[in-house]
Symmetry: C2
Subunit: 149 residues, 2 copies
């Protein structure tokens, strides 16, 4: 019994430390409530400047958290580094995304992204050609939209 308990305890500890959602970056700052539903934590990694004209950062979406609908004037590249979530382009089906996936959203196209209900998601975002602008925030993603198949 002692060995069985010990095994269970260590297996649990191991699972926790090797959990699927592994942070590479610090948690960062909580995203503004008017632009996100639930908790989304933003860590800026590369500031906008005239040398690279590229903005890079990491967002950790807690389970159930998602962005509002929004538009990037020069498009956006997302790289999912851990966890599971969704990406949806207006007028298309919601896409399930997970660790290792890469998503591209073209310029001036309305989209949203966020975590699955039961699992958080870490995503790097890359905004190219920032001389064209960064983001225009739009309406909330409703529960019906979030839960759609």
């Amino acid at each position: 019994m002692a060995i069985a308990s010990l095994t269970a305890l260590l297996a649990f500890s191991c699972k926790e430390s090797a959990g699927e959602v592994q942070a590479i970056f610090p948690r960062g700052e909580l995203g503004a409530a008017e632009n996100f539903t639930g908790n989304a934590w933003n860590t800026p990694l590369v500031d906008n400047d005239t040398t690279y004209n590229t903005l890079v950062g990491n967002v950790y979406f807690e389970p159930g958290a998602r962005s509002n609908w929004h538009i990037h004037p020069a498009g956006q590249i997302l790289i999912i580094t851990d966890g599971r979530g969704y990406h949806q382009i207006k007028g298309q089906a919601k896409q399930v995304i997970k660790k290792g996936d890469v998503v591209q959203c073209p310029p001036h196209v309305e989209h949203w992204h966020g975590a699955s209900p039961d699992f958080g998601m870490h995503q790097l975002y890359i905004l190219p050609k920032t001389e064209k602008g960064i983001v225009t925030w739009l309406q909330k993603v409703t529960d019906d939209e979030y839960n759609s198949q």
Copy 2:
């Protein structure tokens, strides 16, 4: 003794599964021997096009592996997602880099990057403004340069 052995075994398994060099992407293709010393595995993530003008990929450098000296006409952004390694800009000291670090190398500046001798390194690379060009490969990084403090 049985419990101690079990504890050691599980602790070892746990360490292995939560090891510091965790792959997010497939290993990819081996980099050309004329541009790299040792094994560097490249996984393209975003191809160059006229919409984003941004090239993105992942390189896994095995321990001791490094790029040649090279130049990017519009600069480069590196994001270290796991492991440990080095980045050096010509004329500056070699910089130690590790998981979570972000490195920017300006346009037309000679640099190299690679893994530490004992630990591999996973790095995302972002090349902005690809209309200006991608890369010019130069000479090998000598062992003296690689081992310099």
